[in-house]
């Protein structure tokens, strides 16, 4: 297309016109079309790759979205006031002056989630020139609200400001002993710690995200350490989640098929030993012998690794997927296996709930996206379209079906998936088409009560019944609405926000794709958008709250 000279020019032009800061990789388009319009690559987030240490082995990047609210009251002991008299404030000011200590480029809070509303949403302004970074110095002390991306690369956790166009993270935290592999943020955390991090070594930390942002060091500050040096379990952490509405309880899944329930802030003494797992093939639960113990319980779920876990929005159900290819759904409070089923073949790698708790998506080594129905207790659709393993799935809870206001008969869901084939796929699921001709429930005909789902499910088939792999003929196939190659490296995850879709690749590069219509008219307005997304409870981190679906 371009001659070499032109190519250089256009690179320079791209750097100067920073409206879209995306660096265009060859062959990768910066937009994709959907029935509702164009999604455009808005900006990218990455990390200073030169600083990475792979001493503990390469890890796959995961990303968590974190919304910090306005700081409740100045009396909170964990965060210093914005005044410079506080020692912490001085240190953070020094950090800003020292700038580049964090990486190859200067620390910059341009267009970020500054404490003041004036600075809050100026991504457009900030992007006009990188030199303007000095203007906003001192404006941000992370007391206010803001949206951040937390992602792990190598031995570090990076934190980027979602609303800034700056590519580089605003904070890095290095772990000397092991690599972080999974993390989760609880936006409803009542006090203090809202970010949990799991490591390859099995160690787990909980911290306050705001406190990390306010600190200038490269280490975790004010952290609570669980499973220290793998004392309870030394296999790698694979997935971590806050229990929605669980008042500070969280669960950590490990590569040896065990899952532990912790209570944040509770110092686990040395008395958290659990009996030997008698039958590794069987699901079993062991509770700690002492009330002061942390972890409180061990769930032995399967042989081989648990690869991913997800709570239903109301926190009642926990879904796990693993090396053995099974999706398992547990009643979290009853501590019972409710239902589940096997992949077509190979391990399952990821899972996600629909906001209404009716469907679970899974993706795995058979290149398929499976849709599991809680009502039917079986796979109701296979999404065929990936050319490699499916590494991330999510429902788009912000998407509203074009015909949902009408008769209300057709319920449509939009979901997305990413794979090691570097593709992002978007899918529409129309339940009338999919489910009705297939309804062959295992135990009698279910009634379609809209009441308590759990009571209904429990009577439909015996508890703990796992379905074998379905045969190709029995499962309807669906095709993606959109298939878009977004990176050059295999993808590892995706997140839907009110205004965008975020994709992340294994090497820790994040792309933010603005929804149709959002990019142009409202880009000056990200403050309102980000506060709107608060009310809507973003899918990724919201664990409590009612469904946003009209059914």
């Amino acid at each position: 297309m371009h001659s070499n000279a032109n190519g250089m020019l256009s690179t320079a032009a791209a750097a100067a016109s920073s409206a879209n800061t995306a660096v265009q990789s060859p062959g990768l388009k910066t937009y994709f079309k959907t029935p509702e319009g164009r999604y455009k690559l808005h900006y990218e987030k990455t990390h200073p790759s030169g600083l990475l240490h792979y001493a503990h082995g390469k890890t796959v990047t995961q990303v968590s979205l974190a919304h910090l609210k306005d700081k409740p009251a100045p009396s909170t002991p964990t965060a210093p006031s914005s005044s410079f008299s506080s020692s912490s404030g001085v240190r953070s000011a020094a950090a800003r002056l020292l700038g580049g200590s964090n990486g190859s480029r200067a620390l910059s809070f341009v267009g970020g989630n500054g404490g003041s509303k004036i600075n809050g949403g100026n991504s457009r302004i900030g992007s006009l020139g990188s030199s303007s970074s000095s203007n906003s110095m001192g404006s941000s002390n992370f007391d206010g609200k803001g949206s951040y991306l937390v992602f792990n690369v190598g031995d570090a956790i990076f934190i980027s400001d979602l609303n800034s166009q700056d590519k580089d993270p605003i904070k890095s935290i290095h772990f000397s002993n092991s690599n972080p592999v999974c993390h989760a943020f609880d936006q409803d955390a009542k006090d203090g710690h809202d970010l949990i991090i799991g490591l390859i070594s099995g160690d787990v930390y909980s911290v306050s995200l705001r406190q990390q942002l306010q600190d200038v060091g490269k280490k975790l500050v004010g952290a609570q350490h669980y499973n220290k040096d793998g004392s309870v379990n030394n296999s790698r952490c694979t997935s971590i989640a806050w229990v929605p509405g669980g008042d500070g309880t969280f669960v950590v899944a490990h590569a040896d098929g065990n899952l532990y329930v912790y209570e944040k802030g509770k110092d686990g003494a040395n008395d958290s030993s659990f009996p030997f797992v008698k039958d590794p093939m069987q699901f079993s639960i062991a509770h700690a012998r002492y009330s002061k113990s942390n972890p409180l319980a061990r769930w032995h779920i399967c042989q081989g690794s648990i690869n991913s876990i997800a709570f239903s929005t109301d926190g009642a159900y926990l879904a796990t997927v693993g090396r053995d290819g099974y999706l398992r759904v547990f009643d979290y409070y009853k501590e019972q296996l409710v239902c589940g089923g096997k992949s077509y073949y190979g391990a399952l790698l990821c899972c996600a709930w629909s906001m209404d708790g009716k469907y679970i998506l899974t993706g795995g080594e058979d290149d398929l996206v499976q849709v599991w129905s809680m009502e039917d207790r079986k796979v109701v659709a296979w999404g065929e379209g990936h050319n490699s393993w499916v590494s991330g799935v999510f429902f788009d809870s912000y998407w509203s079906s074009p015909n949902s206001e009408g008769t209300g008969e057709t319920v449509m869901y939009r979901f997305g998936s990413v794979g090691q084939d570097t593709q992002l796929l978007l899918w529409d699921l129309e339940m009338d088409e999919i489910v009705v001709p297939l309804r062959r429930p295992p135990g009698g005909s279910p009634t379609y009560s809209t009441g308590s789902q759990s009571a209904h499910w429990d009577s439909a088939c015996p508890v703990g019944n796992l379905q074998p792999a379905p045969s190709t003929r029995d499962v309807p196939k669906i095709s993606p609405v959109v298939a878009h190659r977004v990176h050059t490296e295999p993808l590892s995850g995706l997140i839907f926000t009110q205004e965008s879709v975020l994709t992340v690749c294994r090497e820790g590069h994040i792309k933010i794709w603005m929804r149709p219509g959002v990019g142009e008219s409202q880009s000056n307005n990200s403050e309102t958008l980000s506060s709107a997304s608060f009310k809507e409870k973003p899918l990724f981190s919201s664990k409590v709250g009612s469904s946003s679906y009209k059914l």
Binding site: G325, Y345, A347, D366, D367, N387, T422, S471, T472
Partner: protein, 343 residues
């Protein structure tokens, strides 16, 4: 992997398979292509057992002329009769025999592991067929023959019917493909069955074996330079062609076409694409309308830049597989059984 023997033993601990032997094969000058394949074949349990059976039955016959089959059998029985669980063995006799047999493998040039596997399996089949023929022409020594080539077709004493002999090599590795070609003019479908010992798959960057298999059996249009001669139309016509797996083999050997001939360069170039392979796989069987379920047991890996450089190694455990997706070259899956699609 031989050098790491004791380490391996320690690592496997209680999980060390009962009666299993993990032996490295000594490399004497560019024989790693051969060693890695021999390792994989050794870990192919049905093949190994049948070869050892053959060896046990043929010992009594005694003075059989040395050939690749006897050398291989001898090597496998050496490994399996080791007292130690791990160690190193020098497959000297086998390699000498191989070099004697085929000048291709004689030089110190680097050889292709896939070519070697192909050569070896075909050579074994030839030897078994010759033996069976010799037995047929001499009905006196019929008792051991059933064991040499225990295919059902062999039971016919008079070789009047020219049925192809089904040896235990066939039983392990042979599958049947149907090559379907539909002439776009007369719509006639020409179906031709082909047997195979392995599937050679084209690969793409950041893909999976599942996807490569899908592409392998996807419909291809023959047109322009590459038209199809239709017997009915008696002329070259545009046509659609596809390969279907009619009968999946018991041992599925998948060869990834990592060496691509680049015309401009006049040589082969290695495609270091990342191709992921699951530990379990399903193949649909068009004849019985069933899925055959497979489990991965060995991988031959090629590390290096080209066909004449680099190194072959062999992996036999799940942990090692996952980190070798950029270099996996030959994959060995064993059938666990099949599940019917009829419901």
């Amino acid at each position: 992997m031989g050098a790491a023997g004791s380490k391996l033993e320690k690592a496997l601990g209680d999980q060390f398979p009962e009666g299993e032997r993990y032996f490295g094969l000594e490399n004497f000058g560019n024989t790693c292509y051969c060693n890695s394949v021999l390792q994989a074949l050794y870990f192919c349990v049905p093949f190994r057992e049948q070869l050892l059976d053959y060896f046990a039955n043929n010992k009594s016959i005694g003075d059989v002329e040395e050939n690749l089959l006897t050398c291989l059998a001898d090597l496998f029985s050496q490994i399996s009769s080791q007292k130690k669980k791990t160690g190193v063995i020098a497959p000297k006799r086998f390699v000498q025999r191989l070099k004697k047999q085929n000048e291709l493998f004689r030089s110190y040039m680097h050889q292709d592991a896939h070519e070697f596997l192909n050569f070896l399996l075909n050579e074994l089949v030839d030897i078994l067929e010759k033996e069976a023929q010799a037995v047929k022409s001499d009905p006196e020594t019929s008792s051991p023959s059933d064991k040499i080539a225990n295919g059902p077709k062999n039971a016919q004493a008079n070789g009047a019917l020219k049925e192809p002999l089904v040896t235990w090599v066939h039983k392990n590795f042979q599958g049947i493909l149907t090559n379907e070609t539909r002439c776009l003019r007369c719509e006639t479908v020409t179906a031709r069955d082909e047997t195979f010992f392995d599937l050679s798959l084209d690969i793409e960057q950041n893909s999976s074996i599942t996807s490569c298999l899908k592409n392998f059996s996807s419909t291809e249009t023959l047109n322009a330079e590459d038209k199809f001669f239709c017997d009915k139309c008696c002329s070259l016509q545009e046509a659609q062609k596809r390969m279907k797996i009619k009968k999946p083999p018991h041992i599925l050997v998948i060869h990834l076409k990592r060496f691509k001939y680049i015309e401009q360069l006049g040589r082969y170039k290695k495609l270091s694409y990342r191709v992921v392979f699951p530990l379990e796989l399903k193949l649909s069987n068009t004849m019985e309308d069933a899925d055959s379920e497979y489990s991965l047991f060995a991988v031959v890996v090629h590390v290096g830049s080209g066909p004449n450089h680099g190194h072959y190694t062999f992996f036999g455990s799940a942990q090692e597989y996952s980190s070798n997706t950029d270099h996996g070259y030959i994959l060995f899956y064993e059938c666990l059984g099949s599940t019917s699609n009829k419901s």
